[in-house]
Symmetry: none
């Protein structure tokens, strides 16, 4: 009985190498060697190197979407839900730091149709996030003087940027960073009893 399938092992090796050296600098040969399989075996499961890259995107997109949906489905006060979502996105991104590196850096290496597919699913994800923001705005919790796309970019930029600076070996723990970035974001958008701007 094999512990892990060829496909899993290949994907794991690919993520690691793509994150470390970049997609273009990683040869299929390196991947299969790191995965301990043969080239032929890999091509039995993946049609192309592009296919392998997309598999990584697919896994990430599916994971992100399902976690977001789950938290929203749980319900609760909108401010609590948004906070929970932000914390979770950041924590998950830290759990999948190499995947994130690849995700945000290698989109342009995908074939054009797949770039569009990723962008489409990403938009769905953002839209659900935007709906939360809207609820909070409707409830008078969040400022409305800044366009929603800017607010969304403001939050996801933090998520995106994690792989550029965060290290598990660094002084901050995953949870701390999640709390801190979430706090910075929410403080920035919250309509305090006083005035915004």
């Amino acid at each position: 009985m094999k512990d892990v399938s060829v496909a899993d092992e290949v994907t794991r090796a690919a993520v690691e190498l793509f994150a470390a050296q970049g997609y273009a600098n990683t040869s299929v040969q390196q991947i299969v060697e790191a995965a301990g399989v043969t080239k032929g075996a890999m091509y039995h499961y993946f049609e192309s190197k592009d296919d392998l890259l997309f598999a990584i995107y697919d896994r990430m997109l599916t994971l992100q979407q399902s976690r977001l949906d789950e938290i929203i489905a749980r319900g609760g006060e909108v401010d609590d839900v948004l906070r929970a979502v932000c914390v979770d996105v950041i924590e998950t991104s830290i759990d999948f730091l190499p995947e994130g590196t690849v995700f945000f850096r290698s989109l342009h290496m995908l074939s054009a149709p797949r770039q569009q597919e990723v962008t489409r699913r990403r938009r769905v994800y953002h839209d659900r996030f935007a709906a939360l923001l809207q609820q909070g705005q409707d409830a008078g919790l969040y400022r409305t003087d800044i366009p929603q796309p800017v607010l969304i970019a403001h939050f996801f930029s933090d998520v995106h940027y994690l792989s550029h600076w965060y290290s598990p070996e660094g002084p901050e723990t995953k949870s701390e960073v999640a709390e801190q970035l979430t706090d910075l974001f929410l403080t920035g958008i919250r309509l305090t009893n006083g005035s915004a701007t």
Copy 2:
């Protein structure tokens, strides 16, 4: 008499192509064709493709550093200076959107020594920014409950992310976005009369 030098023309073409297709997907042949020069001519000015990429980094790093230094040199209230810096960084990043795309996406394509060189100069840049923050914190303007590296990442993530979403053709003008993102950032870090977190 030529309007522009070979080196300039090549750099210009390279930035455009690297931003549009990625460094790895762009051949030297494409670059020299787009620049209207020959391969031999290019190799007179750049030792390698890597050299060409580094030239783009060098130009950006120099530009960013000089603008930051200049604004700081101008002096003034720390809060005003920080605000001016933030606005300027964002506006400049929008002015150089393709350069920014390359800058944040292709670091790993540089040779190792040059990656370190970029990182080193980037750190110098961040340190100067951090010093500003520190001044504000010392003056009791900004919160101190969040580590400085997190605060810095929080701001530069917005800068980084611009090339992922901002479009000059979009509804927001350069100045508006610069004001909005700066405001979100400063609101997030400012120590209001009440308490943060």
Copy 3:
């Protein structure tokens, strides 16, 4: 109970694909898919892809030889026999147009020993045809000023060429073409003292 055996189904699919795309451009995978069987099943009946190609040659050679032998065995005036042979060869070639395409185009794709085997059997076939010609020449019916190999080539070139131009959907029927080409051939070789036919 299966209507057709695996071997038959595979051969049928192979002929079709080889004729349409060529032997080299057809993968074993395509063949087994078109035949509705698995690779393993195919390799139970054929030792190799080469084996499969040879099976097609074998079937054609056997068919051609047996039809020729049968018509000659029937006996009759030599001119009538030759005419019957020519008409039959052409009609049969039209009935097996895809097989013919493969037959004349893919000989060089066979392994060397099998190429020789095909050539050998082909020579036997031609020799029997030559014997007919000889009989006619001995009887003073056909011209002798042209070497037999040239006469034989002149006839079989027509057969060979059918797959390059003839289409069942075209204006000429199988029988018409058979008659016309046979007539052109016989008119060309006949020693007319007076009239033709």
Copy 4:
């Protein structure tokens, strides 16, 4: 000063190898080795292996067309012109026997657009030949009871077939075969004082 260009040398080697082993069985590596150049040099002149194959077709098509046009342009009695054309086509085909082998055997290995291009130019060529036949028929020289496409196929089948049997080392000289096949063809289609069919 080089005697032959890289492109010429490569084409020459390719024709030889394609004729001997088939297009599919010949690797680019074999070609460049036989031509005494490097792979890179070859790809400087040919975009692909397909491109190289097409170059052979192009040369043959151009040659055939120009010879046909030239002979027709020379003018004369239609029967003499047709005879001259037939003899020339056969002699030229013998001069370019390897090219002919490739020409008639490897059409299906070309990319689809190029197959069409070849077919188109081939049709132009056949049409000019057909016009000659028509003139002869109008002049009452050639039989009209057989469709022109059949007559044309009847002649070109001989040309096509040459590479399957003719050898310069064989007993027949180029000119003899040309005369003999032309004679067989013309005898077959000529309307003698008597009746045909």
